[in-house]
């Protein structure tokens, strides 16, 4: 059996006394509230036990505090944190408590925290760091305060800077955007030859944009803007104008380098409470003014030319026709009065003179008709195309009979048109069909119409998509032509066949195209060499109301 000596017992009593006194101290500390928690090392891992005590009210306050509040040991162990802080990190409170604060700080800001934490152990310190938890980075402002000598810990108050940082970033973004907008604005002013100004009506302060200075021939912000100074740039003859307010006017300025420019000023008064001001733009409209002036002069010239053309048409109709008519009158007199005296050769020559003057006369008439169509101010009226066609065919009665031609007519629509012009159009097309017939073949002319489907109207660049069109086709079995000439034939004086073979002036189809155009319509041709041709005339059913007479 083991014996216990009195020395052993005495030392054991001493040990127990010491532990008792320690326990007593702890109990006293808990009673006085100077201990919040115990950290007990358990298998090398610290475990913290908190105590509820008299200062419960303060704890509730801290708990409901709108900022993070922590209590850290000298090692940085979190022995307390309020729910605001754990919520901020997005972690359960019990997991935050017992963690080391260093583990919750980003690598970039940990060193800085360390420095301030060391400082705080002696007193207090403040800084910004970034917390890191659950892959989330939270910028915070921290205030560290040593709680010594009462407690061997450091108190830490954490202010979330996320929103502040976010706002700061937004301000930076806005500033950046504003800079870009300003650049765009300046560029736009330069491109548009525009300068702007702001005139504060309360302070009288006037500000010009850089480009306004440039437009005045100055360097940006070269002088302090003022109304008086601006007036010095105004052309002496235009100073009067500027007395009128508020403004939208055009006047001349003389820039610093003596250049005369036209400015157009547009002003707007802004009357916000506490901010009455005038904002205005000055546009350099010199090129516009010059262009308008050039255009005006060109228009006058054009009017002159048009008048000359009209005069020419008139001259062509009378003065040119007059001597021609005389040639014909006198050659026919010659032939009739001296018939018996004339040799066959002489008569042949007289016939040649007659034929040539006849042709000249035709040419003059056609040119005249063409120019009349171009200058037509004729009004449109409801026109039965069947009737026009019948009239046209009557004109060709003799030729139809002579050539043994047959004409097949379909039903044509009633449209708003200039009857005389349509008459001319039909006359030329029927005339061509009969003229360009194949030798030895009786001409067959088929005239029909159809409504043009809307997709065909859209595909035709020369038609007005707002209107309904009828297409009237003139199909013949004549000599035709190669399809490659189908556009060329509508050019004035363009002929595909020799004058000897087929007479004509080369104006007929050009006139047809003009007439169709005058009616907002079109004409096209399809043909094969030696195998007939078809002319398609597309005419709208209606014209704009102001051009139609009843």
């Amino acid at each position: 059996m083991e014996t216990t000596t009195s020395e052993d017992l005495l030392s054991e009593i001493e040990g127990l006394k010491l532990r008792l006194s320690e326990a007593q101290e702890a109990i006293d500390a808990i009673k006085t509230g100077s201990v919040d928690a115990f950290a007990i090392r358990n298998d090398g891992k610290p475990e913290v036990f908190t105590l509820q005590s008299l200062d419960y009210a303060y704890r509730v306050l801290i708990e409901k505090f709108g900022e993070g509040a922590l209590n850290l040991t000298r090692d940085g162990l979190i022995i307390y944190c309020n729910s605001y802080f754990s919520t901020l990190l997005g972690m359960p409170n019990e997991k935050v408590t017992g963690s080391y604060i260093f583990d919750l700080i980003t690598d970039e800001t940990r060193e800085r925290f360390q420095e301030h934490f060391v400082l705080a152990l002696q007193g207090s310190s403040k800084t910004e760091i970034t917390l890191s938890a659950n892959n989330k980075k939270i910028p915070v402002y921290i205030s560290l305060t040593s709680l010594q000598p009462q407690l061997a810990t450091v108190g830490m108050i954490v202010t979330d800077l996320s929103e502040k940082k976010h706002n700061e970033q937004r301000i930076i973004d806005y500033q950046h955007r504003l800079q870009i907008q300003n650049k765009i604005f300046n560029l736009a002013e330069e491109i548009a030859s525009t300068g702007s100004y702001e005139w504060n009506l309360q302070t009288g302060e006037l500000a010009y944009s850089d480009n306004l200075f440039r437009m005045l021939g100055c360097l940006p912000q070269e002088f302090v803007p003022s109304t008086e100074k601006y007036l010095t740039f105004i052309h002496p003859d235009d100073k009067e104008q500027l007395n009128k307010t508020p403004l939208q006017l055009t006047y001349r300025i003389i820039s610093k380098n003596g250049e005369v420019k036209y400015f157009r000023t547009t002003e707007k008064e802004i009357d916000d409470p506490g901010r009455r001001m005038i904002i205005g733009t000055n546009q350099d409209v010199t090129p516009d003014i010059i262009n308008t002036e050039t255009l005006r002069k060109k228009n006058i010239e054009l009017e002159h030319v048009n008048k000359s053309l009209d005069q020419f048409a008139s001259i062509a109709s009378h003065d040119l026709q007059e001597p021609l008519r005389k040639i014909r009158v006198f050659t026919s007199l010659l032939k009739h009065r001296f018939d018996a005296d004339l040799s066959v050769d002489t008569r042949g020559l007289i016939d040649k003179i007659n034929a040539s003057s006849e042709r000249m006369s035709l040419l003059i008439n056609d040119v005249l008709n063409f120019s009349r169509i171009c200058h037509a101010e004729n009004m449109f009226m409801r026109t039965d195309l069947n009737q026009i066609l019948d009239n046209t065919l009557t004109d060709f009665d003799l030729l139809i009979l002579e050539k043994g031609a047959s004409v097949r007519k379909g039903n044509l629509p009633v449209i708003e048109a200039i009857p005389l012009q349509i008459n001319q159009l039909f006359y030329n097309l029927v005339g061509n069909a009969l003229k360009f017939s194949k030798a030895g073949t009786a001409p067959v002319l088929t005239i029909s119409s159809r409504m043009l489907p809307s997709e065909e109207i859209e595909n035709a660049s020369n038609l007005n998509g707002q209107l309904s069109y009828s297409e009237i086709s003139f199909e013949d079995n004549g000599i035709g032509f190669e399809q490659q000439f189908s556009e060329q034939i509508f050019s004035i004086f363009e002929r595909l066949n020799s004058q000897q073979q087929y007479s004509g002036t080369g104006i007929g189809l050009a006139l047809c195209q003009k007439i169709a155009g005058q009616h907002q319509g079109g004409i096209r041709a399809e043909a094969q060499e030696n195998n007939g041709s078809t002319f398609y005339v597309r005419l709208p059913l209606t014209q704009s109301a102001d051009r139609v007479v009843n």
Partner: protein
Amino acid sequence: MKENMTIFIADDDEDDRNLFVESAKELNKDINIITASDGQEAMRILKDEHSPLPDYIFLDLRMPRINGRQCLAEIKKEERLSHIPVFIYTTSRDVNDSIDLGKRGAVHFISKPDNPTEIYYILSTVLDAKWDQS
């Protein structure tokens, strides 16, 4: 055709005047023809109370000083002359001219023909017809 008929022609073109007179004489050798070589002379003769009143007046359109259109207007204003049928005798083949002059009181618009025999036929038709002025 009326006997002792008087016709009046104003034309600045001498050839045309002569051809016209020749054709008229051929139609009726007793016909009385008064000629004027421009509008001014035409109006002086027509307004002169001593000169015989014509049965028909022919006016060229383009004449120096006073043109045919102005003559027509003056004739229609003169009480003594306004009832006389006026024919426009011109080179123009302009339909608009024809319509316009019809409105101003011309009874007919004749384009000068290319063949002198046509003048004869035109005159024979014109001078035989009854041209109602109402």
